[in-house]
């Protein structure tokens, strides 16, 4: 074998070794980092799922306990007129607080995501967000709603709305996202008029045009709202 040929074999071997190191480095950077991201993300998702399962169990337990307490109170009310009067007062207060199911005439509002604009960049204006639900609930309250439920979650006097992006968190419930159905029992005609008023819900109306956000409503002769199944927290409040 000539010296020239041995030299060329060494050059090829060196180039192959360098290429191997480069490929290994690239694989480490390009493959392992996303894999770690996925693992981290999946761990977060698993946490959310476990917490949501625990949340659902607690809410179910609360609903069962409230129903059992109702039965015990009713039994106690049969034994004394004073207890019966108290139970009647509490029943009325629970009705107003959203702790018991409610039915009556009302409106059903459906709101769904629009489409992302071509030049929207990272904006999420096409998604239904918690402020949309908050605005809708406030509009209904101001126009004769006596009880409201959002995707089956009953609104109470202490309800709060939060969330990020297209997620809507109501009180202690798990997040809900579009399509969202709002049911409101109350003065159906007033609520329909308010929902049909083009000057109401200005932000939603603007995004209806910009992102084709979809909102529709229809009056219903008899709607049924579920009872609130979470905590009505008043631990820090004392009466005077």
């Amino acid at each position: 074998m000539s010296r020239r040929r041995v030299g060329s074999i060494f050059v090829v071997a060196a180039v192959a070794l360098a290429t191997g190191f480069l490929v290994a480095g690239q694989v480490k950077v390009q493959l392992l980092t996303p894999s770690n991201q996925v693992a981290r993300y999946q761990a977060l998702v698993r946490s959310v799922q476990e917490l949501e399962a625990s949340n659902a169990q607690s809410r179910l337990k609360i609903a069962v306990l409230r129903s059992q307490i109702d039965a015990l109170e009713a039994a106690a009310a049969q034994r004394s007129a004073a207890t019966q009067a108290l139970q009647s007062q509490v029943a009325d207060l629970r009705l107003h607080a959203g702790l018991t199911p409610l039915h009556g005439p009302g409106v059903e509002i459906d709101i769904a995501n629009g489409v992302p604009g071509a030049d929207s960049g990272g904006e999420v204006g096409y998604l239904v967000n918690f402020k949309d639900v908050q605005d809708l609930v406030n509009l209904l309250v101001a126009n004769g709603a006596e009880g409201i439920a959002v995707n089956g979650r009953r609104i109470t006097p202490l309800s709060a709305f939060s969330g990020s992006g297209g997620q809507v968190i109501i009180d202690q419930g798990p997040p809900v996202s579009a399509p969202i159905m709002v049911l409101a029992v109350g003065d159906r005609l007033r609520m329909e008029a308010a929902l049909g008023d083009p000057s109401g819900l200005p932000d939603i109306r603007a995004r209806e045009v910009q992102y084709q956000l979809q909102i529709s409503f229809r009056g219903r002769p008899d709607l049924a709202l579920p009872a609130y199944d979470s905590s009505l927290d008043t631990r820090h409040v004392g009466t005077l």
Binding site: Y41, A76, G165
Partner: protein, 224 residues
């Protein structure tokens, strides 16, 4: 063509195939990895997930506290005594009257003062919602009690609460967990100060804040 030449050519083809196979393997792993990242990140980012987890932890703690409270109430009722039943019902009525804004209340909390021109009902609704998210259990604005059933509306004359005009400056009182409310108030006042319409936005924490304003209960006409 000699046998030696055919063997060399066959070896080259095998080498090319091996390299092609390796490249295809690496490319497939790379593409699948990226697709998985994109698919799992669709819709929700990690910051939103962290926010969700924090919120669910707090929510679950609150639900567990409510469960413990209900179980205690159930035990008391199961004792079978009329006095015990009356006490449970009286306590429940008091709690609900406070939640519905039907009685004056007191407790720890924060007081925000917002001096501004041009703020709308939507701004006030946002502020009240932020405090509710921050754990407010009772609120008032300029001595008008606010719960979710009380309409906060925009009129030509300004913002009204339950049909009564509330002129700025707004003094917003909120009773609840003072630490959480202070965090919410701090963030809110910072954001408000960045708003050109706001002249001044301050808050203070109070150990025992009193809200005397009450809401008059509206009888239900349509729902039953």
């Amino acid at each position: 063509m000699s046998a030696r030449y055919r063997n060399r050519a066959g070896g080259r083809v095998l080498g090319v195939w091996l390299i092609a196979l390796l490249v295809a393997l690496v490319a497939t792993v790379q593409i699948r990895s990226q697709v998985e990242v994109e698919r799992s990140f669709a819709g929700t980012d990690t910051a939103s997930l962290a926010f969700l987890i924090d919120n669910l932890h707090r929510a679950n703690d609150s639900l567990q506290a409510e469960t413990a409270d209900l179980m205690q109430r159930q035990l008391t009722l199961q004792s079978g005594s009329d006095t015990a039943a009356d006490q449970v019902l009286t306590d429940e009525a008091t709690r609900l009257r406070a939640a519905e804004g039907l009685v004056p209340v007191h407790g720890p909390g924060v007081v925000l003062v917002v001096s501004a021109a041009g703020l709308q009902a939507l701004d006030l609704q946002d502020a009240l919602n932020n405090l509710a998210v921050g754990g407010a259990e009772a609120m008032s604005v300029n001595d008008r009690r606010v719960v979710l059933g009380v309409p906060v509306q925009q009129t030509p004359g300004g913002v009204t609460i339950g049909g009564v005009q509330v002129q700025p400056p707004w003094t917003i009182s909120a009773i609840g967990d003072a630490n959480r409310l202070a965090q919410a108030a701090d963030l809110m006042t910072q954001q408000m100060r960045a708003d050109r319409r706001v002249r001044q936005a301050t808050y203070r924490v109070e150990a025992d804040l009193v809200i005397r304003a009450i809401v008059t209960e509206r009888p239900f006409v349509y729902g039953s």
